[in-house]
Symmetry: C2
Subunit: 459 residues, 2 copies
Amino acid sequence: MKEEVKEYIGQNKDRFVNELLDLLRIPSVSADPQYKNDVARAAEYVKGQLIAAGAEHVEVCKTDGHPIVYGDKLIDPKLPTVLVYGHYDVQPADPIDLWTSPPFEPVIKDEKIFARGSCDDKGQMYMHVKAFEFMMKNNSLPCNVKFMIEGEEEVGSVNLGIFVKANKEKLKSDVCLISDTSMLANDIPSITVGLRGLAYVEVELVGPNRDLHSGTYGGAVSNPINALCDMISSLIDPVTRKITIPGFYDDVEDISAEEKKAISEIPFDEVEYKRELGIKETRGEKGYSIIEQASTRPTLDVNGIKGGYIGEGAKTVLPSKASAKISMRLVPNQKSEKIAHLFAEHFKKITPPSMTVKVDFHHGGEPVVVPMDCIEYQAASMAYEDTFGKKPLPVRAGGSIPIVALFENELGVKSMMMGFGLDTDNIHSPNENFGIFNFLKGIETLPLFYKHYADLKKK
Amino acid sequence: MKEEVKEYIGQNKDRFVNELLDLLRIPSVSADPQYKNDVARAAEYVKGQLIAAGAEHVEVCKTDGHPIVYGDKLIDPKLPTVLVYGHYDVQPADPIDLWTSPPFEPVIKDEKIFARGSCDDKGQMYMHVKAFEFMMKNNSLPCNVKFMIEGEEEVGSVNLGIFVKANKEKLKSDVCLISDTSMLANDIPSITVGLRGLAYVEVELVGPNRDLHSGTYGGAVSNPINALCDMISSLIDPVTRKITIPGFYDDVEDISAEEKKAISEIPFDEVEYKRELGIKETRGEKGYSIIEQASTRPTLDVNGIKGGYIGEGAKTVLPSKASAKISMRLVPNQKSEKIAHLFAEHFKKITPPSMTVKVDFHHGGEPVVVPMDCIEYQAASMAYEDTFGKKPLPVRAGGSIPIVALFENELGVKSMMMGFGLDTDNIHSPNENFGIFNFLKGIETLPLFYKHYADLKKK
C-alpha cells in the first residue's frame, strides 16, 4: 500500500489542494452568528466531499447549534471500525489587520497554505477524507469507517456531547482517530499520547460586611485581599513547588521510565523557549524537566484575581471581599471532581477565623492517556515509520481536549491523536497556515494506520 | 465668659439653627458639575454671614475650581492669630432612596438636624461663625481671627493647596482651628491629637511577554498572579503581624505611657465593634489594643488587586501580568516618601528572577500629631472642661487629613482638631445628621478656647 498511496497522491495532489482551498474560502466561524449560513455551507461542502470519496449514509445532522456531518462505509461487521473525528468550523479571524493576506482568501506561499482553518482543523480533517478516497479507489479499505465532523469545536462542542450520548449505537467503533494536534517537526513525527485534565474553581473570601475606610479600620480589621494572597501563596511549596493540598498527589501516576526516556529525546531548546516567552527563568516542580512540568505533572494556576478598587488612581478602601479563579491541570489518574473537593476542603480549612469563604466549581475535564503498548498506538507508530522513515516520539500535551474523555466515557473508545500540523502554524492567530508537505504527508500516513490496525486486530 | 456665652446662646439659638438650615438648603455638592451654581451660592451665603458676624476683608476668592471664602478680624498685631478652617461643600447625596427625608430639605427630628452637610462640615463650620459673632457682640474677642472656608474639601482640596502656598502672608497665624472630626460621645468630649499618614503605591508584576494557555505552559512558566500573592503575603509576618519591609519601623515613635493610658480609658465595646462589622475576630499587630492598631500603629493594606480573566465563567489563561494597589498608613515620625522608597526597594528585591516589577507612587500624606503638652492643646482641653465639666480624652484618628500636614508645612502652624460631631452622624452616608446639642455645645466651647489660648499666650 505504501507505494500505491504515494503514487495516488502524486497524481492527485493539485486537486486535493484545490478542494481544500474551496473549503477554506467558506468563512465558517462558529462563534459569530453572522456566519451561520457559511457554517451551514461548510457542512454541505463536507457532505458532498464525503459522498464523492465513497462514503454512504452521509447526512448533515441538525443540532441546537451548528450541524454535525456524519457518513460511513461499513464493509463488514466482523472487521474493526474506525471513527474519524474532526471539525469544519474555525476560530474568528480577528485581529484581521495582522493578516498579511485575507483569512478567507487562501494563498500558497513558501509551500504553505495561508488561511483561517488551513491547519485547525479543515486541513487536518480533509486529510482523512482524501485518505479514505484513496482506500476506496484502491480497493484497500481494510475496516469499517465512520466520519463525525462537527461545526462547534471552537465554541465548546456542547451539542456534540448531546449527539454522542444520543447516538451511541450509530457511533459504535473500536478506535477514534483525530488529527487536531501537532507534531514536533517535519522530520520528527510524534503522537500525542496524553492530555491533562482540569479542575477549575472560583473562590470568594469575605471579611467585613461592607467596604471600609482603610484609615479608620486598617491595622485592626483583616483585609480579604491580603488574606486571599496568604491563602493562595500557601498552596504551593516555595522550595519544592509542589501543591500543598493534602491528598492532591495521591492518585498521580508517575510516568514510566520508558516514557521519561522518550520525553528526554524530544528536541527542546530551553534558551529559545525562554527567549520566545521573554522570561529569564522557568520555575516549576523540582526534579522534573520543563517538558515534564508542562505536560506530565499537575499544576495550580490562578487564572484571575479581583478585589477592591481596580480603576485609575488611588482609593483607600479596605474591601469587604476578594475573589479568584483557580485551575488545576490534572494528570492520569487524578479525577477532576475529587481534586475540586480536596481543594475546597483545604481552602476552607486555611481560611482565617475573621473571614468566610465560598468555593464554586466550574467545568472540569478528565486527564487522558493513550497507553503505548496498545495495538492502536503500535499501528500509528508503524504508519509514521513507513512514511517518515523513523519511529514517532510519544508526547503529552499540557492542555485538555474534553471530547477525548467524552469518547472514552460515552463510546468506550480510545482516541489516537495523529496530528500533522506544527506549533508554528499560528492556529487561533493571524496568518494561520498549513504546509503542503504536512497535508500530503497526512494523506499518505493515515491509510497505513488503517492497514496496520486491521492487520494487528486480526492477530 | 462662660456665663455670657451660655446666655447669648439661650437668646439666639433658634436664629442660629435657622441660619444653618438656610445654608443646608443649598445643595453645594462639589463633585457634581451640575451643582456648580449652588456651590457658588453657598460661598456667597458664608460670605454674608461672616460680614454679619463682624468679619472684615471678606471676599469670595476665585480658584480654578470652587471658591474659597476668606474673612478676618485683626484687632491687634501683637495678639496671637487663630486661623479657622472649614468647608461649605458637601458629599453627593446618593444613594438618595435611602434617605428618610430629602437631603437638601433639612428637618429636625429627635433634636437632630437631618440634611446632607449638617455635620460635615456646614454645621461644624458654622459653629465657628456663631462663636465669632458672640465674641464680637460681647466685646470679648481676645485675639485676631482669620477664616478660610473652602468649597473643595470633598474633592481633594487641590486648589486650597495652591491658595495656601500663594497667600502665606495673608494666612499667617499662630494656630489653626478645625472642627471636621468627631468626639467620642456627648458626655465624653475628645480632641483628635493624631492622624496617620499615607504612602500609596501601585505595583505591576510581569512574567511572560503575552497571555499564555495555562494548559500548554502551566507548571513550567511561573504565573504572575501566584507570584504576586507570594510577594504580598510575605510583606506581613504571619505571627506578629508586623510589616517585614526592612527599615519600615525605624522611625516609628512609640506612644507615651501617658497616651497609652489615655487610650485605655476610651470606652470601647469590642463585641459591638465586631458585631457591627460582621466579623468574628479582629487581627492586627501583636501586643497592641484594637484602638492602638487602628490609630497609633502603621499598616499595610492591599486596596485593589487585578490579574488575568475576571469576567463571568472560566478561562484558562496564564496571564502575562498582575497588579495591585497597596497603601501603608504611617504614624509619627515616618515619612511618606521614605516609606514608599523602602517598599519599592524591598518589593524589587523579592521579585522572582522569572519576573520583572514596576512600582509607581501615588499621592502620599504625612502623619500628624498634636503634642499634648503645648498651650494649644491645653487651651482646648480647658475649654471642654469649662463646658462639659470634664477633661476631654486625646484620641488619634486612623485616617489622614492631608490639609493638616499642608498647614503645618506651608504655614508652620499646628492644627487643633476640635470636633463636636459623633461617629453615628452618618457623614458621607444617607440620613446625615447633627445634634442640636452638639451644634450649640460647639458654639459654647469655641470662645473659651480663644480665651484660654490668649491667656496662656500672655504668660
